[in-house]
Amino acid sequence: MPDLKTRLGTWDVLVLVVTLVFLAFAVSQVENFGTSVNFTFLVLDLLPIMLIALPMTLIIITGEIDLSVASTLGLTSALMGYLWNQGMSIELIIPACLVVGGLLGALNGVFVTVLGLPSLAVTIGTLALFRGLAFVVLGDTAVANFPFSYTSWVTGTIAGTSIPNVLIIMLVLALVCGVVLHATPLGRALIAIGANDQAARFAGINAGRAKFSLYVISGVTAGLAGVLWTLRYSTARADNAAGLELAVVAAVLLGGVSIFGGKGTLPGVIAGVVLLGSLQNVLRLEDVSNESLNIVTGVLLIISVLLPNTAAAVSTAWHRRRLRSGAEGGAHVA
């Protein structure tokens, strides 16, 4: 057991160190990376991935997955455009979008916890369903005339500094999730559910209720990401953030969360998101096309699971060989 723990510990630390080294390298070597304008862009690019990655971490730790997040974002964005076109006030639209996000998450939650269906299949289904509904709501048109006071707040910085306003939202949510996961009984319960669902149940943990709430939270956060995405680009489109679930899952796994559940830390995930985001930012500064960027994300996703697994296999093989040679040595003495 301690073997496992040290290995995971080192993976977290490894990602953190790699992230810091990479940032240092980028600031010193890549032109324009260290500028305050680019910092704002970097944070804005990170924002949707980070927001969605936080609840995704908790969901994956309980051994489930939510692939529908990017479609939830798209649907809330489309809804926002539709309601704005209908003349609804933005002060009403934003809470409405968050509620709808929560309802979409609840739908996932019902299928997974009440009906007991595999979350992978359910959220592949809702991935298609929510994106389809987004197109039903808004078609392939775009809505662009959102109030300037809101769009400029999202892209703006705190007066007198170069700290983007949205960074505050990000930090607050990260703090809440981190505290919940690492400092409350609920967080321990989530890890227990992921490690052994049945044992957790016998220990008196209501796994169904915990998972259901996580899906609702995931939906609300994706809704919030949808609102912020729409305001940032000042465009509501049905295909907003298509495929973003890949980046989110990649960042979470890169941060050392086990896809099988039961293991993972939030600081690791934050490092994973920052590493992925700044890597993409650097490549974009170097004029690499968006489609080619996806190669990097895809490869990172596979490597982040492949590497720890291979390391574990190698260490087990090494351990076994040592045991065997130890046994032979013992036989000699006898």
Partner: protein
């Protein structure tokens, strides 16, 4: 999950304890209900659409539906092989795009090449992509979901960076290659023939041959399959190679049918393929399902798509319907599994 796992055991205990004749009948009825359900849904849908617009059953429209179905069905057959082993292959849409663009480029550059060469090239390219998936899944011990989600973007990204916004137009392709999609043998278009042969042979191998039965055993219980001496590693890799190769073949069919191919060919197609397979009665947790069921699923999805167009319903509903069908299908599977498990429990109490 436990209910689904017990389901395959039913036949075993039934045979051993004799009065199982009835039980076995029950189980097979349940399985048949799925295919029957699809056929009934198809009949109702076609009847309703034709009543509204008789153009729907014109030979041109039927032909379009069958051509589209055959491409989707070839991919669905490959996906069935993978899903039955309790894995998934989300990269098929990207493999199709990669194969379509590569083959179209090569055919445009060498007009003398016969169509068969294009088909073989698609199969090989797709097979290599599938080999990459299979090797990482098996020897890296990485879940298939993660691997194929990753390669979905890697294969697509490679196609994009190669194509760089260019496309192969129909007038650059050799005439023989384009005619292939429209030519027919005894009234059956080549593409449909390929679709039928693929569905038929995959169904046959999975039903009657050792390799096929081993795939089901692996899906029902990976641990037991390993203990029973089944070469799980070889079979897993082979399943992904089959899925990749068939997606590659689908790419050639796509290029031949549409003529104009760019790097975006087949984007998002994996959702339709998974939907066809799941709607066709292949259990997402492996161990049961047939390729011809998946083929019927593909037909149903395609017919829904063209019905929407004919009925003048917003085309955008199609994707939402695909999602709803996936949810409906896995929900129905769960219901059936729970019912079988309950029935078994009751019988056990009586005994």
């Amino acid at each position: 999950m436990s209910a689904q796992r017990t389901a395959p055991v039913v036949t075993g205990t039934g045979e051993a304890a004799r009065p199982g004749g009835r039980r076995r009948f029950k189980l097979s009825t349940v399985l048949r209900i799925r295919e029957l359900g699809i056929v009934i849904a198809l009949v109702i849908l076609v009847a309703y659409t034709t009543a509204n617009n008789s153009r729907f059953l014109s030979s041109q429209s039927v032909r379009d539906i069958l051509l589209s179905t055959s491409i989707l069905a070839v991919l669905a057959a490959g996906q069935t092989v993978v899903v039955v082993t309790r894995n998934i292959d989300l990269s098929v849409g990207s493999i199709l795009g990669f194969s379509a663009f590569s083959v179209a480029t090569v055919m445009a550059a060498n007009p003398g090449l016969p169509v068969v060469a294009g088909l073989a090239m698609g199969l090989v390219l797709g097979g290599v992509c599938g080999l990459v998936n299979g090797v990482i899944v098996r020897f890296g011990q990485v879940p298939a979901l993660v691997v194929t989600l990753g390669t979905l973007y890697v294969f697509r990204g490679i196609t994009y960076s190669w194509a760089g916004g260019q496309q192969v137009n129909a007038d650059e392709l050799p005439r023989g290659f384009l005619r292939f999609a429209n030519d027919a043998v005894l009234g059956v278009p080549w593409l449909v023939l390929i679709g039928l042969v693929v569905i038929g042979s995959v169904s046959l191998v999975m039903r009657n041959y050792r390799f096929g039965r081993e795939l089901y055993a692996m899906g029902s219980s990976p641990e037991a399959a390993e203990l029973a001496g089944i070469r799980v590693a070889r079979n897993t890799v082979a399943a992904f190679v089959v899925s990749g190769a068939l997606a590659g073949l689908g790419g050639v069919m796509f290029a031949s049918r549409f003529g104009t191919v760019d790097a975006a060919a087949g984007t998002g197609l994996e959702l339709n393929v998974v939907a066809a397979v799941v709607v066709g009665g292949v259990a997402v947790f492996g161990g049961s399902g047939t390729a011809y069921g998946a083929g019927l699923g593909a037909l149903l999805l395609t017919v829904i798509g063209s019905s929407l167009a004919v009925l003048d319903i917003n085309q955008f509903w199609q994707r939402a319907i695909v999602g709803a069908l996936i949810l409906l299908a896995i929900g129905a599977d769960r219901l059936v599994a729970v019912r079988i498990a309950r029935g078994l429990l009751r019988k056990d109490v009586h005994a």
